[in-house]
């Protein structure tokens, strides 16, 4: 079945540095969602991207959906210690599928 591949698996940054995580699929995605999971917590929805080339911003977070709808990225500007956690992308398993498949996530550590 379709998988969404996420890279990198881990990222350690100094506070104030930027951070980017990437999500790639071999097939066209109808939409993609991003979630954040704090240590010991549960995934929390951040954003959903639907349109080709879509860019959405939430304060220091910028989300992009590729033109071919096969990849997506999450960029955080000037990281803060509150950004610590694991960021997951998730997308429907296939055309017309109901199953939302999660990537393996990128675990972000921020060094104060």
């Amino acid at each position: 079945g379709q998988q969404v591949m996420q890279i990198p698996q881990y990222q350690h940054v100094q506070e104030g540095e930027d951070f980017t995580t990437y999500c790639n699929s071999s097939t066209t995605l109808s939409n993609i969602q991003w979630y954040k999971q704090r240590p010991g917590g549960h995934p929390v929805f951040l954003i959903q991207l639907v349109k080709s080339g879509e860019v959405k911003k939430q304060k220091r977070l910028t989300f992009q959906f590729g033109e071919a709808k096969k990849n997506s990225s999450l960029h955080i500007t000037a990281t803060q210690t509150t950004d610590v956690g694991t960021y997951f992308c998730a997308a429907p398993q296939g055309a017309g599928s109901y199953q939302l498949t999660f990537g393996k996530g990128t675990k972000l550590s921020v060094i104060p």
Binding site: N31, Q33, H42, V44, Q48, A90, G103, G105
Partner: protein
Amino acid sequence: EAGVAQSPRYKIIEKRQSVAFWCNPISGHATLYWYQQILGQGPKLLIQFQNNGVVDDSQLPKDRFSAERLKGVDSTLKIQPAKLEDSAVYLCASSWAHNSPLHFGNGTRLTVT
């Protein structure tokens, strides 16, 4: 609005024992999901309900796992008998409809010894 409620928060059992988890979704959410999250991995969908009907259970180990959503509201997930590899966090989530954002509960951390 009240969030997704799950219980218990933690459960420790021995292998071959049975265990049950309970979930109450956000009021009005038609779609309910059970995910299994093994440490260091992303959530893996076990079963998805639309109201009280099963939409997808392709990744549910049906020889030991079962789930139901009677009356289309709360749901239970059961494991019988448990294996060591079932140690994980079991997350329940709900959404207005499929493809809309998921709201997760706090999860149940299961340890099988």
